[in-house]
Protein backbone atom coordinates (compact mmCIF):
# COMPACT_ATOMS: atom_id res chain seq x y z
CA UNK A 1 0.00 0.00 0.00
CA UNK A 2 1.27 3.44 -0.87
CA UNK A 3 1.55 5.64 2.15
CA UNK A 4 0.71 9.26 1.42
CA UNK A 5 1.25 12.44 3.37
CA UNK A 6 -1.61 13.55 5.65
CA UNK A 7 -4.22 15.41 3.61
CA UNK A 8 -6.03 18.58 4.55
CA UNK A 9 -9.79 18.54 5.21
CA UNK A 10 -10.29 20.34 1.91
CA UNK A 11 -8.44 17.62 0.02
CA UNK A 12 -10.37 14.88 1.81
CA UNK A 13 -13.78 16.38 1.05
CA UNK A 14 -13.17 17.81 -2.45
CA UNK A 15 -14.36 14.73 -4.33
CA UNK A 16 -17.28 13.93 -1.97
CA UNK A 17 -18.48 17.55 -2.25
CA UNK A 18 -18.35 17.48 -6.04
CA UNK A 19 -20.32 14.20 -6.08
CA UNK A 20 -22.90 15.66 -3.68
CA UNK A 21 -23.38 18.69 -5.95
CA UNK A 22 -23.90 16.47 -9.02
CA UNK A 23 -26.38 14.37 -7.00
CA UNK A 24 -28.28 17.47 -5.90
CA UNK A 25 -28.54 18.78 -9.47
CA UNK A 26 -29.80 15.33 -10.47
CA UNK A 27 -32.41 15.25 -7.74
CA UNK A 28 -33.78 18.74 -8.47
CA UNK A 29 -33.61 18.82 -12.28
CA UNK A 30 -36.39 16.33 -13.01
CA UNK A 31 -38.70 18.18 -10.64
CA UNK A 32 -38.50 21.33 -12.78
CA UNK A 33 -39.47 20.07 -16.20
CA UNK A 34 -39.48 17.07 -18.52
CA UNK A 35 -37.27 16.32 -21.52
CA UNK A 36 -33.78 17.81 -21.17
CA UNK A 37 -34.24 18.29 -17.44
CA UNK A 38 -34.93 14.56 -17.07
CA UNK A 39 -31.71 13.84 -18.97
CA UNK A 40 -29.82 16.22 -16.68
CA UNK A 41 -31.19 14.41 -13.65
CA UNK A 42 -30.10 11.00 -15.00
CA UNK A 43 -26.60 12.34 -15.64
CA UNK A 44 -26.39 13.93 -12.21
CA UNK A 45 -27.43 10.80 -10.32
CA UNK A 46 -25.30 8.58 -12.57
CA UNK A 47 -22.23 10.34 -11.11
CA UNK A 48 -22.28 8.58 -7.70
CA UNK A 49 -22.99 5.25 -9.40
CA UNK A 50 -20.10 5.76 -11.82
CA UNK A 51 -17.73 6.71 -8.97
CA UNK A 52 -18.66 3.49 -7.13
CA UNK A 53 -17.87 1.41 -10.22
CA UNK A 54 -14.58 3.31 -10.67
CA UNK A 55 -13.57 2.79 -7.05
CA UNK A 56 -14.39 -0.92 -6.96
CA UNK A 57 -12.77 -1.59 -10.31
CA UNK A 58 -9.72 0.68 -10.43
CA UNK A 59 -8.95 1.75 -6.90
CA UNK A 60 -8.14 -1.61 -5.38
CA UNK A 61 -4.75 -1.65 -3.74
Amino acid sequence: MTRIRPQSLRAIFAAPLAIAIFSLVGLVAALLDDGLYDLLSWLGLAVPVAVIVWSLRWRRQ
Binding site: I4, I12, P16, S23, L27, L31, W42, L45, P48, Q61
Partner: protein
Amino acid sequence: MTSRSIRVWYLVHKWTSLVCTAFMLLLCITGLPLIFHDEIDALFEDDLKLADLPAETPLRSLDEAVAAAVAAFPGEQPLYMSFNRDQPVVNVTTGPHVKAVRQQMHLSPIDLRQALVIGQIVDDGIMHIILRLHVDMFAGLPGELFLGFMGFLMFIAIVSGVVVYAPFMRRLRFGAIRVSRSRRVKWIDAHNMLGIVTLLWLSVVGLTGVINTLSKPLVDVWRANELADMVAPYRDKPVPTQLASLEQAVRTAMDAAPGTRPQFVAFPGVRFSSNHHYAVWLRGATPATERLLTPALVDAQTGELTAIRRMPWYMLVLKLSQPLHFGDYGGLPLKILWAVLDIVAIVILGSGLYLWLARRHPVAISA
Protein backbone atom coordinates in the same frame (compact mmCIF):
# COMPACT_ATOMS: atom_id res chain seq x y z
CA MET B 1 -10.28 17.45 15.90
CA THR B 2 -9.18 15.89 19.19
CA SER B 3 -9.09 12.14 19.53
CA ARG B 4 -11.68 12.46 22.26
CA SER B 5 -14.23 14.20 20.05
CA ILE B 6 -13.53 11.70 17.28
CA ARG B 7 -14.33 8.93 19.74
CA VAL B 8 -17.62 10.62 20.69
CA TRP B 9 -18.64 11.03 17.03
CA TYR B 10 -17.73 7.43 16.41
CA LEU B 11 -19.96 6.33 19.31
CA VAL B 12 -22.82 8.45 17.92
CA HIS B 13 -22.33 6.79 14.52
CA LYS B 14 -22.22 3.32 16.03
CA TRP B 15 -25.27 3.60 18.24
CA THR B 16 -27.59 5.52 15.92
CA SER B 17 -26.71 3.00 13.19
CA LEU B 18 -27.21 -0.03 15.40
CA VAL B 19 -30.65 1.13 16.52
CA CYS B 20 -31.98 1.91 13.05
CA THR B 21 -30.20 -0.70 10.88
CA ALA B 22 -32.79 -3.47 11.08
CA PHE B 23 -35.62 -1.05 10.19
CA MET B 24 -33.59 0.63 7.48
CA LEU B 25 -32.93 -2.77 5.92
CA LEU B 26 -36.68 -3.43 5.99
CA LEU B 27 -37.33 -0.05 4.33
CA CYS B 28 -34.65 -0.47 1.67
CA ILE B 29 -35.77 -3.99 0.78
CA THR B 30 -39.51 -3.20 0.66
CA GLY B 31 -38.73 0.10 -1.08
CA LEU B 32 -37.04 -1.65 -3.98
CA PRO B 33 -40.21 -3.12 -5.57
CA LEU B 34 -42.17 0.02 -4.61
CA ILE B 35 -39.92 2.11 -6.88
CA PHE B 36 -41.41 0.15 -9.80
CA HIS B 37 -44.98 -0.08 -8.49
CA ASP B 38 -46.41 1.65 -11.60
CA GLU B 39 -44.78 -0.90 -13.89
CA ILE B 40 -45.71 -3.84 -11.63
CA ASP B 41 -49.31 -2.66 -11.23
CA ALA B 42 -49.62 -2.28 -15.00
CA LEU B 43 -48.75 -5.98 -15.42
CA PHE B 44 -51.76 -7.02 -13.37
CA GLU B 45 -54.23 -4.30 -14.29
CA ASP B 46 -55.68 -5.83 -17.42
CA ASP B 47 -59.28 -5.51 -16.23
CA LEU B 48 -59.29 -1.72 -16.63
CA LYS B 49 -59.30 -1.66 -20.43
CA LEU B 50 -61.48 1.10 -21.82
CA ALA B 51 -64.18 0.42 -24.39
CA ASP B 52 -63.45 1.42 -27.98
CA LEU B 53 -65.50 4.53 -28.61
CA PRO B 54 -65.14 7.24 -31.28
CA ALA B 55 -62.51 9.81 -30.31
CA GLU B 56 -65.05 12.62 -30.19
CA THR B 57 -67.45 10.89 -27.79
CA PRO B 58 -68.66 13.61 -25.40
CA LEU B 59 -68.08 13.17 -21.69
CA ARG B 60 -70.96 12.63 -19.30
CA SER B 61 -71.19 14.85 -16.24
CA LEU B 62 -69.28 14.21 -13.03
CA ASP B 63 -72.63 13.97 -11.25
CA GLU B 64 -73.55 10.98 -13.40
CA ALA B 65 -70.20 9.40 -12.54
CA VAL B 66 -70.92 9.85 -8.83
CA ALA B 67 -74.39 8.36 -9.27
CA ALA B 68 -72.90 5.33 -11.03
CA ALA B 69 -70.43 4.73 -8.18
CA VAL B 70 -73.13 5.05 -5.52
CA ALA B 71 -75.38 2.69 -7.48
CA ALA B 72 -72.57 0.11 -7.42
CA PHE B 73 -72.43 0.26 -3.60
CA PRO B 74 -75.98 0.95 -2.37
CA GLY B 75 -76.15 2.64 1.02
CA GLU B 76 -72.74 4.24 0.66
CA GLN B 77 -72.00 7.89 0.00
CA PRO B 78 -69.35 9.55 -2.16
CA LEU B 79 -66.22 10.64 -0.29
CA TYR B 80 -63.59 11.47 -2.91
CA MET B 81 -63.28 11.74 -6.65
CA SER B 82 -59.87 11.71 -8.31
CA PHE B 83 -59.10 12.50 -11.93
CA ASN B 84 -57.02 10.24 -14.16
CA ARG B 85 -54.34 12.22 -15.99
CA ASP B 86 -54.21 10.38 -19.26
CA GLN B 87 -57.64 8.82 -19.71
CA PRO B 88 -61.26 10.01 -19.53
CA VAL B 89 -61.58 8.20 -16.23
CA VAL B 90 -62.43 9.35 -12.71
CA ASN B 91 -62.08 7.23 -9.58
CA VAL B 92 -64.89 7.64 -7.07
CA THR B 93 -64.34 6.56 -3.47
CA THR B 94 -67.49 5.62 -1.58
CA GLY B 95 -67.96 4.59 2.03
CA PRO B 96 -70.64 4.02 4.68
CA HIS B 97 -70.11 7.48 6.25
CA VAL B 98 -67.79 10.48 6.02
CA LYS B 99 -65.48 9.25 8.81
CA ALA B 100 -65.05 5.82 7.18
CA VAL B 101 -61.56 4.30 7.40
CA ARG B 102 -59.69 2.99 4.40
CA GLN B 103 -60.78 -0.63 4.89
CA GLN B 104 -64.46 0.38 4.66
CA MET B 105 -64.07 2.34 1.43
CA HIS B 106 -64.66 1.23 -2.15
CA LEU B 107 -62.85 2.68 -5.12
CA SER B 108 -64.69 2.61 -8.47
CA PRO B 109 -62.99 3.69 -11.70
CA ILE B 110 -65.57 5.22 -14.04
CA ASP B 111 -65.37 5.77 -17.78
CA LEU B 112 -66.64 9.35 -18.15
CA ARG B 113 -67.78 8.80 -21.74
CA GLN B 114 -70.42 6.31 -20.62
CA ALA B 115 -70.65 7.04 -16.87
CA LEU B 116 -70.03 3.32 -16.37
CA VAL B 117 -68.11 1.60 -13.58
CA ILE B 118 -65.30 -0.29 -15.32
CA GLY B 119 -63.97 -2.43 -12.50
CA GLN B 120 -62.99 -2.13 -8.89
CA ILE B 121 -59.62 -1.14 -7.52
CA VAL B 122 -58.77 -3.32 -4.54
CA ASP B 123 -55.76 -3.02 -2.26
CA ASP B 124 -55.04 -6.60 -1.32
CA GLY B 125 -52.21 -7.77 -3.55
CA ILE B 126 -48.60 -8.41 -2.61
CA MET B 127 -47.72 -4.82 -3.51
CA HIS B 128 -50.19 -3.58 -0.95
CA ILE B 129 -48.61 -5.73 1.75
CA ILE B 130 -45.17 -4.44 0.81
CA LEU B 131 -46.46 -0.87 0.89
CA ARG B 132 -47.96 -1.27 4.36
CA LEU B 133 -44.73 -2.84 5.67
CA HIS B 134 -42.84 0.11 4.24
CA VAL B 135 -45.21 2.82 5.50
CA ASP B 136 -46.22 1.69 8.98
CA MET B 137 -45.50 -2.05 9.46
CA PHE B 138 -49.29 -2.52 9.80
CA ALA B 139 -49.20 -0.41 12.99
CA GLY B 140 -51.02 2.72 11.81
CA LEU B 141 -49.88 6.20 12.78
CA PRO B 142 -47.62 5.03 15.66
CA GLY B 143 -45.88 2.71 13.22
CA GLU B 144 -45.43 5.56 10.74
CA LEU B 145 -44.00 7.91 13.35
CA PHE B 146 -41.72 5.17 14.68
CA LEU B 147 -40.28 4.55 11.21
CA GLY B 148 -39.93 8.32 10.84
CA PHE B 149 -37.85 8.41 14.01
CA MET B 150 -35.71 5.54 12.70
CA GLY B 151 -35.17 7.58 9.52
CA PHE B 152 -34.10 10.52 11.63
CA LEU B 153 -31.59 8.30 13.45
CA MET B 154 -30.27 7.22 10.07
CA PHE B 155 -29.71 10.86 9.17
CA ILE B 156 -27.73 11.36 12.41
CA ALA B 157 -25.75 8.24 11.47
CA ILE B 158 -24.98 9.78 8.07
CA VAL B 159 -23.82 13.08 9.59
CA SER B 160 -21.64 11.39 12.21
CA GLY B 161 -20.36 9.02 9.54
CA VAL B 162 -19.17 12.01 7.49
CA VAL B 163 -17.41 13.44 10.55
CA VAL B 164 -15.48 10.25 11.28
CA TYR B 165 -14.72 9.83 7.58
CA ALA B 166 -12.24 12.72 7.72
CA PRO B 167 -9.69 11.37 10.25
CA PHE B 168 -10.02 7.98 8.61
CA MET B 169 -9.09 9.24 5.15
CA ARG B 170 -6.15 11.44 6.11
CA ARG B 171 -3.62 9.00 4.69
CA LEU B 172 -5.83 7.30 2.15
CA ARG B 173 -6.66 8.51 -1.31
CA PHE B 174 -10.31 9.02 -2.20
CA GLY B 175 -12.04 5.83 -3.27
CA ALA B 176 -9.18 3.53 -2.33
CA ILE B 177 -10.14 -0.02 -1.33
CA ARG B 178 -7.31 -1.90 0.43
CA VAL B 179 -7.97 -5.45 -0.67
CA SER B 180 -4.51 -6.83 0.12
CA ARG B 181 -4.98 -6.52 3.88
CA SER B 182 -7.63 -8.22 6.02
CA ARG B 183 -11.24 -8.76 4.98
CA ARG B 184 -12.23 -6.28 7.66
CA VAL B 185 -10.02 -3.52 6.22
CA LYS B 186 -11.45 -4.16 2.78
CA TRP B 187 -15.00 -3.80 4.08
CA ILE B 188 -14.16 -0.68 6.12
CA ASP B 189 -12.89 0.98 2.96
CA ALA B 190 -15.89 -0.18 0.95
CA HIS B 191 -18.32 0.99 3.66
CA ASN B 192 -16.63 4.41 3.79
CA MET B 193 -16.50 4.84 0.03
CA LEU B 194 -20.12 3.75 -0.57
CA GLY B 195 -21.33 5.92 2.29
CA ILE B 196 -19.56 9.11 1.29
CA VAL B 197 -20.51 8.73 -2.38
CA THR B 198 -24.24 8.22 -1.75
CA LEU B 199 -24.31 10.73 1.10
CA LEU B 200 -26.58 13.29 -0.55
CA TRP B 201 -29.02 10.89 -2.18
CA LEU B 202 -29.45 8.85 0.99
CA SER B 203 -29.90 11.98 3.11
CA VAL B 204 -32.57 13.37 0.79
CA VAL B 205 -34.46 10.08 0.48
CA GLY B 206 -34.18 9.55 4.25
CA LEU B 207 -35.30 13.02 5.28
CA THR B 208 -38.15 13.19 2.75
CA GLY B 209 -39.24 9.80 4.07
CA VAL B 210 -39.27 11.26 7.58
CA ILE B 211 -41.37 14.20 6.35
CA ASN B 212 -43.79 11.78 4.68
CA THR B 213 -44.34 10.02 8.01
CA LEU B 214 -45.56 13.38 9.35
CA SER B 215 -48.21 13.63 6.65
CA LYS B 216 -51.19 12.86 8.88
CA PRO B 217 -50.23 15.33 11.64
CA LEU B 218 -49.44 17.99 9.03
CA VAL B 219 -52.84 17.60 7.36
CA ASP B 220 -54.41 17.92 10.82
CA VAL B 221 -52.51 21.17 11.37
CA TRP B 222 -53.70 22.44 8.00
CA ARG B 223 -57.30 21.52 8.84
CA ALA B 224 -57.11 23.19 12.25
CA ASN B 225 -55.59 26.42 10.92
CA GLU B 226 -55.89 27.22 7.22
CA LEU B 227 -59.05 25.28 6.50
CA ALA B 228 -60.72 26.46 9.69
CA ASP B 229 -59.99 30.08 8.65
CA MET B 230 -61.37 29.55 5.17
CA VAL B 231 -64.66 28.12 6.39
CA ALA B 232 -65.09 30.11 9.60
CA PRO B 233 -68.57 31.42 8.67
CA TYR B 234 -69.78 27.84 8.18
CA ARG B 235 -68.43 26.49 11.43
CA ASP B 236 -71.65 25.28 13.03
CA LYS B 237 -73.58 24.25 9.96
CA PRO B 238 -74.32 20.54 9.53
CA VAL B 239 -73.24 18.46 6.55
CA PRO B 240 -75.81 19.32 3.82
CA THR B 241 -78.06 16.51 2.66
CA GLN B 242 -78.87 17.95 -0.77
CA LEU B 243 -75.67 18.57 -2.72
CA ALA B 244 -75.28 21.08 -5.57
CA SER B 245 -73.96 19.84 -8.92
CA LEU B 246 -70.38 18.58 -8.67
CA GLU B 247 -69.82 19.29 -12.37
CA GLN B 248 -70.68 22.95 -11.78
CA ALA B 249 -68.59 23.09 -8.61
CA VAL B 250 -65.48 21.85 -10.42
CA ARG B 251 -66.06 24.39 -13.23
CA THR B 252 -66.45 27.18 -10.70
CA ALA B 253 -63.18 26.17 -9.03
CA MET B 254 -61.28 25.98 -12.34
CA ASP B 255 -62.61 29.37 -13.42
CA ALA B 256 -61.28 30.86 -10.19
CA ALA B 257 -57.76 29.57 -10.94
CA PRO B 258 -57.11 29.67 -14.70
CA GLY B 259 -54.48 27.26 -16.00
CA THR B 260 -55.19 24.56 -13.43
CA ARG B 261 -56.76 21.13 -13.60
CA PRO B 262 -58.56 19.24 -10.88
CA GLN B 263 -56.59 16.48 -9.16
CA PHE B 264 -59.22 15.38 -6.71
CA VAL B 265 -62.42 16.50 -5.03
CA ALA B 266 -63.10 15.91 -1.35
CA PHE B 267 -66.81 15.73 -0.53
CA PRO B 268 -68.34 17.58 2.44
CA GLY B 269 -67.34 16.15 5.81
CA VAL B 270 -64.25 14.16 4.82
CA ARG B 271 -60.69 14.72 5.98
CA PHE B 272 -59.60 17.00 3.13
CA SER B 273 -62.71 19.21 3.16
CA SER B 274 -65.02 21.07 5.50
CA ASN B 275 -68.46 19.95 6.59
CA HIS B 276 -70.11 22.24 4.10
CA HIS B 277 -67.93 22.29 1.00
CA TYR B 278 -66.67 20.47 -1.98
CA ALA B 279 -62.91 20.94 -1.71
CA VAL B 280 -61.66 20.93 -5.30
CA TRP B 281 -57.89 20.37 -5.22
CA LEU B 282 -56.39 21.97 -8.30
CA ARG B 283 -52.97 21.31 -9.71
CA GLY B 284 -50.87 23.37 -12.11
CA ALA B 285 -50.59 22.36 -15.74
CA THR B 286 -46.78 22.36 -16.02
CA PRO B 287 -44.37 19.75 -14.60
CA ALA B 288 -42.98 22.28 -12.11
CA THR B 289 -46.40 23.30 -10.79
CA GLU B 290 -48.43 20.10 -11.06
CA ARG B 291 -47.47 19.02 -7.54
CA LEU B 292 -48.39 22.32 -5.99
CA LEU B 293 -52.04 21.84 -5.13
CA THR B 294 -54.41 24.70 -4.47
CA PRO B 295 -57.66 23.89 -2.68
CA ALA B 296 -60.80 25.73 -3.82
CA LEU B 297 -63.76 25.47 -1.48
CA VAL B 298 -67.13 25.49 -3.19
CA ASP B 299 -70.29 25.72 -1.09
CA ALA B 300 -71.87 22.29 -1.54
CA GLN B 301 -75.38 23.68 -1.08
CA THR B 302 -75.33 26.78 -3.32
CA GLY B 303 -72.47 25.83 -5.66
CA GLU B 304 -70.77 29.19 -5.08
CA LEU B 305 -67.06 29.70 -4.47
CA THR B 306 -66.30 30.35 -0.80
CA ALA B 307 -62.51 30.65 -0.85
CA ILE B 308 -59.40 29.62 -2.72
CA ARG B 309 -56.03 29.77 -1.04
CA ARG B 310 -52.53 28.47 -1.71
CA MET B 311 -51.23 25.75 0.54
CA PRO B 312 -49.03 26.83 3.44
CA TRP B 313 -45.28 26.13 3.28
CA TYR B 314 -45.42 22.92 5.31
CA MET B 315 -47.95 21.39 2.94
CA LEU B 316 -45.74 22.35 -0.03
CA VAL B 317 -42.77 20.72 1.70
CA LEU B 318 -44.89 17.63 2.23
CA LYS B 319 -45.98 17.58 -1.43
CA LEU B 320 -42.40 17.97 -2.71
CA SER B 321 -41.17 15.28 -0.32
CA GLN B 322 -43.25 12.66 -2.07
CA PRO B 323 -41.52 12.57 -5.47
CA LEU B 324 -38.10 13.10 -3.88
CA HIS B 325 -38.71 10.03 -1.75
CA PHE B 326 -40.35 7.81 -4.39
CA GLY B 327 -38.05 8.67 -7.33
CA ASP B 328 -41.03 8.49 -9.70
CA TYR B 329 -40.63 11.88 -11.35
CA GLY B 330 -38.05 11.37 -14.08
CA GLY B 331 -38.99 8.35 -16.15
CA LEU B 332 -37.67 4.81 -16.02
CA PRO B 333 -33.93 5.72 -16.06
CA LEU B 334 -34.38 7.69 -12.83
CA LYS B 335 -36.18 4.74 -11.25
CA ILE B 336 -33.33 2.43 -12.24
CA LEU B 337 -30.77 4.80 -10.69
CA TRP B 338 -32.98 4.93 -7.60
CA ALA B 339 -32.95 1.13 -7.42
CA VAL B 340 -29.16 0.94 -7.85
CA LEU B 341 -28.62 3.51 -5.10
CA ASP B 342 -31.12 1.66 -2.90
CA ILE B 343 -29.10 -1.55 -3.32
CA VAL B 344 -25.93 0.39 -2.46
CA ALA B 345 -27.70 1.56 0.72
CA ILE B 346 -28.44 -2.08 1.59
CA VAL B 347 -24.73 -2.89 1.16
CA ILE B 348 -23.77 0.06 3.39
CA LEU B 349 -26.16 -1.15 6.10
CA GLY B 350 -25.02 -4.76 5.79
CA SER B 351 -21.32 -3.90 5.80
CA GLY B 352 -21.79 -1.62 8.81
CA LEU B 353 -23.43 -4.48 10.66
CA TYR B 354 -20.65 -6.86 9.60
CA LEU B 355 -17.96 -4.45 10.78
CA TRP B 356 -19.61 -4.18 14.18
CA LEU B 357 -19.93 -7.96 14.52
CA ALA B 358 -16.38 -8.54 13.29
CA ARG B 359 -15.12 -6.07 15.87
CA ARG B 360 -16.87 -7.80 18.72
CA HIS B 361 -15.82 -11.31 17.74
CA PRO B 362 -12.58 -10.89 15.77
CA VAL B 363 -11.58 -14.55 16.05
CA ALA B 364 -14.93 -16.04 15.14
CA ILE B 365 -15.35 -13.90 12.00
CA SER B 366 -11.82 -14.24 10.61
CA ALA B 367 -11.70 -17.99 11.18
